[in-house]
């Protein structure tokens, strides 16, 4: 169907972003292709070394998923902060990533966890790292004949937290910070740090991640990583808060999460 309708078609999964955009006339697709008729796209499962989340898995199901909680605590921490409980009954992670709102939370979580999007078309399937999938505000790299059918995350992480300041439930993040780690003993084999709401896109903090994986967790590296993440933030002063406040909150949240992971009392 996507190949037939091409550029004029938009895919509907949860509809929690597409329908509001249509009301605002920011989107007026000639054709809407409703995925909801497709059976078996609502899975959340671990298979082949990946946590796999189907395009119709609702945020409600992610909040309640045992495998999400045990394998990726960052995702479990972020899920209850997505929009509000009623909207979570419809909204999906895959749809949120496709919508590519720079204020969206799931893309930050996916950046932290090295997530990928699986796209399918009549020509076959391809896997796109989230860092390449989102190409800018409200734009992604899907071809007009492709549908994103799955988000997948390799391996597992032993620690994860998503700290989000929102003025009220359902608002966009004033600042949000995701931290995920795979740690054993003093060493950290995997570290993901990402930011929401403090730049023109979701931000992955490569330098802060490198500090943690390279030198492990101690009071010194925690502080270094928190400073590095704040340096990656590009906040703007607006009605949600000043540039200085948002940048400081990035430092605080990264420090708080890494300290919790290391068992250090945060300042």
């Amino acid at each position: 169907m996507m190949a037939y309708y091409g550029e004029e078609a938009k895919v509907l999964s949860g509809g929690m972003s597409l329908i509001p955009l249509m009301k605002l006339r920011f989107a007026s697709p000639g054709t809407i292709v409703d995925l909801n008729q497709i059976q078996g796209l609502d899975y959340i499962e671990e298979a082949g070394g990946y946590l796999r989340i189907g395009a119709l898995a609702r945020n409600r199901a992610i909040v309640r998923s045992g495998v999400v909680r045990s394998r990726h605590p960052l995702m479990a921490s972020a899920a209850p902060t997505i929009s509000d409980p009623v909207v979570r009954n419809r909204g999906t992670l895959v749809g949120n990533c496709c919508h590519a709102d720079p204020q969206g939370d799931w893309a930050t979580v996916m950046l932290c966890l090295d997530g990928e999007i699986v796209a399918r078309s009549v020509d076959g399937e391809r896997v796109i790292p989230i860092s390449q999938f989102v190409t800018g505000p409200f734009s992604n790299t899907l071809q007009s004949n492709e549908i994103a059918v799955e988000a997948r995350i390799p391996g597992g992480t032993s620690f994860g937290e998503y700290h989000k300041i929102e003025r009220k439930v359902g608002d966009f993040a004033t600042v949000a910070v995701g931290v995920a780690l795979q740690a054993s003993g003093g060493s950290v084999s995997r570290c993901g740090i990402g930011l929401t709401g403090v730049g023109p896109s979701n931000i992955k903090c490569y330098e802060a991640e490198r500090i943690v994986t390279g030198s492990g967790l101690n009071e010194h590296t925690v502080e270094q990583a928190a400073r590095a993440a704040a340096a990656d933030a590009q906040p703007r002063s607006d009605h949600r808060g000043s540039e200085e406040y948002k940048r400081e909150m990035v430092t605080v949240f990264v420090r708080r999460s890494l300290s919790a992971a290391a068992g250090i009392r945060a300042a």
Partner: protein, 170 residues
Amino acid sequence: MPEFRTVQCVVNDEPREAEVEPRLLLLHFIREVLGLTGTHLGCDTTSCGACTVLYDGLPVKSCTLFAVQADGHEILTVEGLGSPSELSPVQEGFHEEHGLQCGFCTPGMMITATAFLEENPNPTEEEIRWALSGNNCRCTGYQNIVKAVQWAARKMAASGVSARGANPIM
């Protein structure tokens, strides 16, 4: 002219069928096609929850679904909760605890509270506040709404009646 589509669904336990414009919102289908005006249009931006209905048993904001998405599904609106002579526990709770002032948000509040109490019949105050956080009330400060839900939970525990009332229709 857009092609009209047939929607066949069950609303408040009654089979309904209508021809609709494909981009008609579920909210307008419920209010204007079916004439069930208990479901309210509030913000029209997926924020306030005044338009909340149950869609296959789960609360959704009907201003942000298309009517055609109801095809083959079950909808419960506030009209399906109870009757004036036999209120559901949640309706009775809102009455007993005065869980409303202007009443505009009340249908959505009661629908969300009903589904919540089915899932969690013995909630804490904090759990109630989280469950209702997608429904806005601009009058009451929520205190009496929370009390109303607590009242309904006690009534359910004492009477063995489900959140949807003595004659659950879904």
